[in-house]
């Protein structure tokens, strides 16, 4: 079972690698940010599976912190790309 969990982690790491390609290729910044966002979710998933493999409840906290903070960079990004650099893309539309 443990071996299976690590194999699952390797699979998830594969999706992370693929998303890195998207971050690299772009072509625009929204694409790059999306790639980083998907890697954030992938990281949460890997952290959960690692916690399961180690049967260590405290490892879930890492997933918790990642899940809480992974979106912050994306929020900072959409703020940065709004018209005045401090806005909300929904206001601009």
């Amino acid at each position: 079972m443990d071996e299976f969990l690590y194999l699952a982690c390797i699979g998830l790491l594969g999706t992370v690698a693929a998303s890195l390609v998207r971050v690299h290729l772009g072509p625009n910044r929204a694409d790059r940010m999306m790639g980083a966002q998907l890697i954030g979710t992938g990281g949460v998933a890997i952290a959960l599976v690692l916690a399961g493999a180690a049967r260590d409840a405290s490892m879930i906290d890492v997933a918790l912190v990642l899940a809480l903070l992974a979106s912050f960079a994306a929020v900072a990004f959409v703020k940065a790309t709004s018209a005045d650099g401090a806005g909300d893309p929904e206001e601009d539309g």
């Binding site: 443990d2 071996e3 299976f4 690590y6 194999l7 982690c9 390797i10 790491l13 992370v16 690698a17 998303s19 890195l20 971050v23 690299h24 772009g26 910044r29 790059r32 940010m33 790639g35 980083a36 890697i39 954030g40 990281g43 890997i46 952290a47 690692l50 916690a51 493999a53 260590d56 405290s58 490892m59 906290d61 890492v62 918790l64 912190v65 990642l66 809480l68 903070l69 992974a70 979106s71 912050f72 960079a73 929020v75 900072a76 990004f77 959409v78 703020k79 940065a80 790309t81 005045d84 650099g85 401090a86 806005g87 909300d88 929904e90 206001e91």
Partner: protein
């Protein structure tokens, strides 16, 4: 090779690729995005090394707070047209640099591999004394008791870093408010997110500092989460940054380190600098950690916010 080790190798390789992309890429925004990804991967590496406390710190700081800081910096550079650099590739120089860097890496690796495999460490000494430290999480015991002097200096480093950042303020804006006034559409997605997430984040932060004495977690990880909540509240327009001239905010920043320092000094007069008597150590450490958490959270949030850009 078993799957666990295979995963380690793959993760390590991916982290190196992300780091290389961050430093060697052509697009500055892509570099920042790669660095954020890199932080996530490093947090996972710490989990695999069994260092959950470090994984929490890296997830919160490396992947979270630093990301916001860097994107904020990129945004300002982008607006001032300073994201492009004049190309001046000298491939010979680059080759030389690559050779030098690679030799350092190889030298370090060779030295490390050549070290005795049993590796003397302090794990046994910590195990022996952790019962007297007042907390059961060995990492917290080291941070707040065995090496409390380092941690005291580190909290002061944070306060001084903030003073250093503030020292870059233009004179006419001294005492003003960091960053731009952030706004969001009323009832929009961003505003809603900024109201839903903070209570949860607050809960996670309190949980982390509470858990810290017996499980992985502690003041720094909790403070980072709280600082992130603060920044989200600001970004979603729910609250504005405080003016740095505010006495209340300055007192909040120095309260934690000051209490820690005062406690340590009191101990010095009674016999032991930063000494925690074993029977009350747990209580004292928890008290200091709670105050530190608040101070560090405010300091980190203001460090990311940067220098004042407008007057009150």
């Amino acid at each position: 090779m078993n799957p666990a080790l295979l995963f380690d190798v793959a993760l390590a390789a991916l982290a190196v690729v992300a780091a290389l992309s961050a430093v060697a890429g052509r697009d500055l925004f892509a570099s920042v995005a790669f660095y954020i990804v890199y932080g996530i991967l490093i947090a996972l590496a710490w989990m695999r090394l069994g260092a959950v406390d470090v994984a929490l710190a890296e997830a919160a700081i490396g992947a979270g707070l630093t990301g916001v800081l860097l994107i904020g910096a990129w945004s300002q550079l982008h607006r001032k047209g300073a994201t492009e650099t004049p190309p001046g590739p000298s491939s010979a120089a680059r080759l030389l640099a690559a050779g030098a860097s690679a030799s350092v890496a190889v030298l370090v690796a060779v030295i490390f591999v050549g070290l005795p495999a049993d590796g003397a460490g302090l794990a046994p000494a910590v195990r022996e004394n952790v019962a007297e430290s007042g907390v059961s999480n060995p990492v917290t015991a080291v941070l707040l008791n065995f090496r409390a002097y380092d941690t005291l200096m580190e909290t002061i480093v944070l306060a001084v870093a903030l003073a250093a950042v503030w020292s870059l303020t233009r004179d006419e804006l001294w005492g003003g408010i960091p960053g731009l006034r952030q706004h969001a559409r009323d009832g929009g997605v961003l505003a809603t997110f900024g109201r839903l997430l903070p209570p949860l984040g607050l809960l996670v932060g309190v949980y982390l500092v509470w858990a810290g004495s017996s499980m992985p977690g502690g003041a720094f990880q909790a403070a980072t989460v709280l600082a992130a909540v603060w920044l989200l509240l600001v970004m979603s327009g729910a609250m504005d940054e405080p003016a740095i001239g505010s006495t209340a905010i300055r007192l909040t920043i120095v309260a934690g380190p000051a209490l820690f320092l005062a406690y340590g000094t009191g101990g010095a007069f009674l016999g032991t600098f930063l000494g925690f008597p074993a029977d009350v150590a747990g209580m004292l450490i928890v008290a200091i950690e709670y105050v530190l958490t608040v101070s560090i959270a405010a300091t980190l949030a203001l460090l990311v916010a940067g220098v004042p850009r407008r007057q009150e």
